[in-house]
Amino acid sequence: MYSTIRPAAALLALFTLITGVAYPLIVTGIAQGLLQQQANGSLVRKDGALIGSRLIGQSFTSAGYFHARPSAAGANGYDAAASSGSNLGPLSTKLNERIAASLPTLKQESDVTVPADAVTASGSGLDPHISIDNAQRQVARVASSRSVPPSQIQSIVDRIAERPALGIIGEPRINVLLLNLELDSALGRKI
């Protein structure tokens, strides 16, 4: 008995030190030393103040900003301390009602067919991206709210849109926070 417990206890203690203390601290050291931006959450500053992370979605409701996807994280969505999806299946009445409720506003903005990402909540509730179709539909609304020609907004969307690297790595997408930041810096702050 003792001959089994003794090595088990010793190895558990040793591996706790090696894999539970040394390993994360070594990785932390490397990351904090060489990759400070990423290691601390890819935070974005504007005029010195922290306004978010380029990886984490935010809620946008003003007509002059592009809107992110619906979110199930936290009570009001985009709670970056409580990530969550809706976990509702396609046959869920709750999901179908939520989609139906969001459609009138979306259809009013544009006649173009609504892309799926505009009415569905992401897995994390923190999806920083929308599809390019989803952004395209919002161009007219943002332009009229900011009283600028749509072509001007369109050119900013085209600039921020990300395409697959090498043609296959990654999906076509738009980072909503970066897009709205770019709008503000090109056209002035809008709220």
């Binding site: 089994t4 417990i5 003794r6 090595p7 088990a8 010793a10 190895l11 558990l12 040793l14 090696i18 894999t19 390993y23 994360p24 990785v27 932390t28 990351a31 990423q38 290691a39 601390n40 935070l43 922290l50 306004i51 978010g52 992370s53 984490i56 935010q58 809620s59 003003s62 900003y65 996807r69 985009y78 970056a80 301390a81 990530s83 969550s84 999806g85 809706s86 976990n87 299946g89 396609p90 046959l91 179908n96 989609i99 459609l103 259809k107 067919t113 799926a116 569905t120 897995g123 994390s124 923190l126 999806d127 991206h129 697959p164 043609g167 296959i168 790595i169 990654g170 999906e171 709220i191």
Partner: protein, 569 residues
Amino acid sequence: MTVTGWLQIALILAAVVAAAWPLGLYMARVFSGERTFLSPVLLPVERAVYIAANVDPKKEQTWLSYALAMLAINGLGFVLLYGLMRFQHLLPLNPQGFAAVPPDLAFNTAVSFVTNTNWQSYGGETTMSHLVQMTGLGVQNFLSAATGIALALAVTRAFARRTAATLGNFWADLTRATLYVLLPLSIIVAVAFAISGVPQTLAASAEVTTLEGAKQAIALGPVASQEAIKQLGTNGGGFFNVNAAHPFENPNAWSNILSIWSMLLISTALPITFGRLVGDMRQGAALLTVMYALLVVGVAIVYAAETSGVPSQIAAGIDPAMGNMEGKEVRFGQALTALYVVATTGLSCGAVNAMHGSLTPIGGLVPLFMIQLGEILPGGVGSGLYGIIVMAILAVFVAGLMVGRTPEYLGKKIEAREMKLAVLAILILPLTILGFTAASAMLPFALSSLANSGPRGLTEILYAYSSAAGNNGSAFAGLTANTQWYNTTLGIAMLLGRFAYVVPVLAIAGALAKKTKVAASPGTFPTHGMLFIGLLTGVILILGGLQYFPALALGPVVEHVLMQAGKTF
């Protein structure tokens, strides 16, 4: 489905096999105690570990003392982890000031991480201190994976040795798996994750004011280091509630590729190690062929189901081009989400980059069935290999019955005792899964945990117990599992699925090791050809189908029919 999507899938799988091949050969050297290119650095560490732990790595163990050693360190690991969670409010490195984890949740979580399941009834960023994440959960991520590798090696030796009373030394296997395999790979992968944007800090969160003036607290932590071992060790326990769907665990296409590659790597390499050690690479290749053939079929079904759109949404006027997007992230795309879904359940990983509970009925049936097939396609680190060897034993037995010969696998005769033990091991899973599911489906307080009603409600329960018993850890997460009933019964299911399965398997290995290897004769059924591959595939599918089809018919199958009919619940 698109050509680009399939190209993405093919490239990742090719990259896995390309890296698994040399890794498999490397592991064969490591576990034979031979020198490797890392020995100059690691040999002194390894020796120091043996001295401190009073272990003689050359002292071989019988299957029983090998099993007892494995149970001892896992038992102690459970106690330590349980204690850390119960007392986290008194311990350092708790920047958010989380309270002690309640007893039932601590039991469930400790079992979960010790058994390599990593089922999470809690949200990481709202429950666990950094100390628990690093020195508790993180350590078990290593140890449970190393345990799996050790067990796979013990079973491999039963076939590799001509005749032997012993299966190796558990302490040495465990130490080598950690030092030579998991730790170096984890450091490399963790740094790669950090480069791709995964945070690695001891800070708790960042407070920001959003562009529209709202306050947003962004949870942070030592994520990259945990992400690496979580994937490599097929643990799957996320730092954050939503696991690898969270942009901090999986920020972009590159991290997503790395994530899939690293979870498949070791489980793909181990059959190659097996082939090398039994002295016939074709044997390992045959097992890999079965694993990957079924994996790719699964990917194709999920990819097709998720991209064909949801009828009710299409009727409401939504563009079907993106497919079913509820619970999915824009940055991953449907192809690599489908690959992730099937890989994580074909493995016993359980990390998710999309919410399985929001998949279409058929898209959700596949991961559920992959788990129920026994986590062997390619299965968890180590557990996948010994799991498919049990199936191979069953397959040669079936072949033996058909031609009326004593079955043998790799020169070892499979007789009544081995078959009894194999069937005992195989029966643990359906008994646990279907038994607990049936009980939960009848208990009002268990049913009150459901988020979806109708057939998906049943699927939520069935998925939970399949995931627990299969040591997977993914979920149809609508189920509120953080209740005494689910925490306790899922904990028991995880224990049975891991230890009640592996002890008979070690007993088989012990019995086979003792038998003298017989030379192949013209009458021997070759276990590397297409016939065997077909037979093994058939045995896996028929066994899984017979056990679970009735339950699946009441869950995802009927749900699919109802979806076509436009029903909602």
